[in-house]
Symmetry: C2
Amino acid sequence: MQAPFEYVVVEKSDEEIAEDRRIFSGLAVAVRALSEASLRTTIDHDEATVIRHEIEAITDRLRRSQIEGSYGVTMTSDGVVLGYGNAVVGVRNPIAPPLVIKTEPDGRTSAEFELNALYEGPPGCVHGGVVALVLDQVLGESPAAGGTPGMTGTLTLRYGQPTALGKCSAAAWIERREGVKTIVKGWLRNADGEITVEAEGIFILPRWAREELARSGNQPPRFE
Amino acid sequence: MQAPFEYVVVEKSDEEIAEDRRIFSGLAVAVRALSEASLRTTIDHDEATVIRHEIEAITDRLRRSQIEGSYGVTMTSDGVVLGYGNAVVGVRNPIAPPLVIKTEPDGRTSAEFELNALYEGPPGCVHGGVVALVLDQVLGESPAAGGTPGMTGTLTLRYGQPTALGKCSAAAWIERREGVKTIVKGWLRNADGEITVEAEGIFILPRWAREELARSGNQPPRFE
């Protein structure tokens, strides 16, 4: 199987990239707050309709100049992949909380974050699928942090109890390795520190990625 | 264990509720487009900053009147739960694609939908966690459709290959029942109709929900 994508290289200096990140992650912060406010608002219908049209006009202005397709295929001329679009950690992605995941060289990962009304499933609780979304990323960064990068092969989640919306934390660690497989375990805790969901993932480096790595002298792309 | 929430009852007529839905789901459509545009835009920094401030001002106007907390705890005086806030199917939730899930009385569920740049994980591909998010909902609606509602106990995902961003479809069905457990299987297909991810879920009605049902004469709340 072939890599399902080709990188698009952006020709910008480090300073330009840093300033881009600052400006557009700030824009994403504003859009996240707007998303949450638009879900919970009870303003009158006339005002809501006026606001809808204002938002549509802003969208048109943003679209006057935009990248082709999605963000993740963007790489700097230095070979740094700009992971700003990632649905969990992407600083430019308004649907991402976004998580800031700490990693250790032994593969341990952890994150503290808040899940608001946008992430709801059962009334007042985090959507079970959002738990899976977050844990896929927290577990998924573990193999790479520990030196054996891989893509999710299987992911199993055991839901012990509902997780109330609000402050949460997650962590993962490498349990063991079996050939090309890295087996990772992790959990999600609620604001009271109780483990509400446990997860296990098997991560495998697909053949196309191993071939790509071999071509680049086993240097995986750096992500930022 | 107690139900982790209490419903908030809104006193509105059916017509008012329908009009609310029309207006505010329209607002969510606009915010979804804005989110995608804000991720992909390459407009200059001055214009992006002006737009950020405009969005913040709109957010302030939306917040002048809003519900307490999250949406899922809202119920009409007729006992209909307004699931508009759900992270996968909520028509008022800007982070939801949102999925429209068809259900059959035998528990079969299916949905066709599009996942754009907001749902990216690996470059050009659907985030593995987004796949889990979507499948948790598609599988999760199966037990209720088949007459044995439950919350996710375990969810297992097997990723066969990356799923390209774009058109996707998902389906689920009840595999078997074991006491209070309903075992559900399902899949995600890419635009070419290939199964990229398979899933299995075990859904269990928690004790607090069984007690709540018994109190209400075994009438589960209706969702809309």
